[in-house]
């Protein structure tokens, strides 16, 4: 998997960390949804930024800081939640947001275990709103991992960097 090198690479940006999200999303979707994720070439997020209808945001802290966003168009999110829960669900239902959040939790957690660094993940936040984008800290580049499945296409936005352990 090739990652386009950022034109100006900030200190501590690690493309290798991003690769763990490819492994984790494939593992989570295969195990929990019984579906294969085909991953396209990751690319650096730039204008015009992609817009989504449903996003799960997970923060990282510790020796890895930043965030991950698992982001979907509404039809894909509905299909994925139905597959995960075994029942169709309205997008306005709290259980819908809960399901998306738990999916994000598992993708972030499964990536974290491969970091080999001390890191914690936050509880998930879920954003539901047509055509939104998620903005992050400017000094950490955001890499978008495009994914396709039989349930639809979605993106993983990874904006993380390593930090030295505090003394």
């Amino acid at each position: 998997m090739a990652v386009q090198s950022p034109q100006a690479s900030p200190a501590n940006f690690t493309a290798g960390l991003v690769a763990h999200f490819v492994t984790s999303v494939q593992e989570v979707f295969s195990t929990m949804l019984g579906t294969t994720v085909n991953v396209g070439s990751p690319f650096r997020k730039k204008d015009p930024v992609p817009q989504y209808d449903v996003s799960a945001v997970i923060g990282f802290s510790g020796n890895v800081v930043g965030s991950m966003v698992l982001a979907f168009a509404k039809p894909t999110a509905l299909q994925i939640v139905q597959t995960l829960t075994g029942a169709p669900m309205d997008i306005s239902s709290p259980d819908f947001a809960d399901a998306i959040g738990e999916l994000g939790n598992m993708v972030a957690g499964a990536a974290k275990k491969h970091f080999g660094l001390v890191a914690s993940i936050s509880l998930p936040s879920v954003i539901i709103g047509a055509g939104h984008s998620v903005a992050r800290q400017h000094e950490i580049p955001t890499i978008i991992i495009p994914c396709t499945t039989s349930l639809g296409s979605f993106g993983i936005e990874v904006s993380i960097k390593t930090v030295a352990p505090s003394v």
Binding site: E27, V28, T31, M32, L84, T85, G86, D95, D98, A99, G101, E102, N105, M106, A108, G109, A110, K112, K113, I121, L123
Partner: protein, 128 residues
């Protein structure tokens, strides 16, 4: 079988209940965090046959919950079901008193196997 399911995600608790259904009759109590779990335990003086705890939860996390439970209950089997997969975390959980550990994501078969393993071990006579 009376089971306490503790996870801030109702989706995950429902997945666990669906797995338990395949194992036979059971009665489930649920809690969304460690504090709710302690209340559920206090309200069930007859106790539970099995407890499944998530780690990362609001108000009281799973590791703290395990320690609180083990202050008074040394025997009810506890399985930690979590995304925390680092060896140091697993060791922390075992030291706190969990009987088994399941890493998310998991297949239904994997969870069934782990539950059976845990319950079988809990029933096994202790060697004198």
């Amino acid at each position: 079988m009376k089971v306490l399911l503790v996870d801030d995600s109702r989706t995950m608790r429902n997945i666990q209940k669906n797995v338990l259904k395949t194992m036979g009759d059971f009665e489930a109590a649920e809690a969304g965090d460690g504090l709710e779990a302690l209340t559920a335990i206090a309200m069930n003086p007859a106790g539970f046959d099995l407890m499944l705890f998530d780690w990362n939860m609001p108000n009281m996390d799973g590791l703290t919950l395990v320690k609180k439970v083990r202050e008074k209950d040394k025997t009810t089997p506890i399985i930690m079901v979590t995304t925390e997969a680092e060896k140091v975390r697993i060791i922390d959980a075992i030291k706190a008193g969990v009987n088994n550990y399941v890493i998310k994501p998991f297949t239904p078969d994997a969870l069934v196997e782990r539950i059976k393993q845990t319950l079988d071990k809990a029933k096994a006579p202790v060697a004198v």
